[in-house]
Symmetry: C3
Amino acid sequence: MEMKQINDLREIQLKIEELTHAYVQCIDDNRLEEWPEFFTEDCLYQIISRENDERNFPASLIYCDSKGMLKDRITAHRQANIFEAHVYRHIVSSIRITSHENDTYTVHSNYAVFQTRVNGNSEVYNVGKYIDKVIFEDDQPKFKEKKVIYDTLVIPTLLVTPI
Amino acid sequence: MEMKQINDLREIQLKIEELTHAYVQCIDDNRLEEWPEFFTEDCLYQIISRENDERNFPASLIYCDSKGMLKDRITAHRQANIFEAHVYRHIVSSIRITSHENDTYTVHSNYAVFQTRVNGNSEVYNVGKYIDKVIFEDDQPKFKEKKVIYDTLVIPTLLVTPI
Amino acid sequence: MEMKQINDLREIQLKIEELTHAYVQCIDDNRLEEWPEFFTEDCLYQIISRENDERNFPASLIYCDSKGMLKDRITAHRQANIFEAHVYRHIVSSIRITSHENDTYTVHSNYAVFQTRVNGNSEVYNVGKYIDKVIFEDDQPKFKEKKVIYDTLVIPTLLVTPI
């Protein structure tokens, strides 16, 4: 490969890492109103169990297929949550571009989310992997798809904050 | 941006990542005498709860504003700790330069620290975020400021090892 | 250092990170048959407690010194495991090249593995560090040595999946 191509690929890798980091810090800082902006207008955000994903069962905990739905979700979340009972902390690792087709990059990564409740204890809340499809709009990476495939089956289904 | 500028910025990003990695491995390897060397002479190291930080309450668990104080802290820690009762393991992710002014880079990252006690069990000890100010001295990155903002409120206050 | 040398070193760093990421995702996806391919033919894979490693006690939980042994291990694991009772999720951070001699790079990193059991709960399974020796075969990085030094002493010794 030419040096320029390698540099371009590395630049894309680093931009996608930056996207992922900014994404989780946005959630952890509870700036949820900014969260939909990480996605393209016409997007897919899905939270699905590892079991269902492996068996190709479509049943998801969350399934949003437009940025509008993501915004609605946050509005509902804010109205339903009377007080801030929990805080979250994401750790993401192993962000890898596994393939790319035209301008779409498929990216795999592992995550662990820790929850700290009002009693001050931090616990493993949810672990799993992200499978993302990233495109660049005006040189800015965006999630065209973000599939959250969780290992942890014990998850409160009522009011899930984004993962 | 010019290719050279991009390369310079990437180089700085990678050096700051390396600084952070070396920092946590120093603590995890219990080489605490080397720990102050990650800081500038005139520095700030602070461990503060998320709650206090968000409300601008100054009360911190630890507040050291010089490298001398960091060294004193380690000396005290070594003398007070009669035996090594716990070991620590840091996982850091999402190291991002969020801004830079003159030669000072502001860097955000997330961390999780696991503690393994003498019974051999590993547990989530503390999770939170770092907000660092990094400068370069003779091409070596150093922490001018390291603010540890923890989510986990249940933390033994008596003898805190660095986080 | 010349720009080219810096670029070469960065390229090596990124390739070693990619190797580590692909390695853990292979285990987490339960594609264990592919796992030995991350190693050279003549290799060392060792899982040893932090205590034994620090005291230079040789007793290891796992000690395999060829790719053939790694393959045997997976075969045994598959035959002994009648059903998939657990899934694993690795988080790796702080991947650092700490030295290199000729074509061998010594790499340190921290890991945390979470286990999700059939009841759906995710727990901290094992934390520790990797000390790896990486060489390049036809431009592909491989583990010549992978030493898993674990903090967590409570670990089922009967059927350890690779860490």
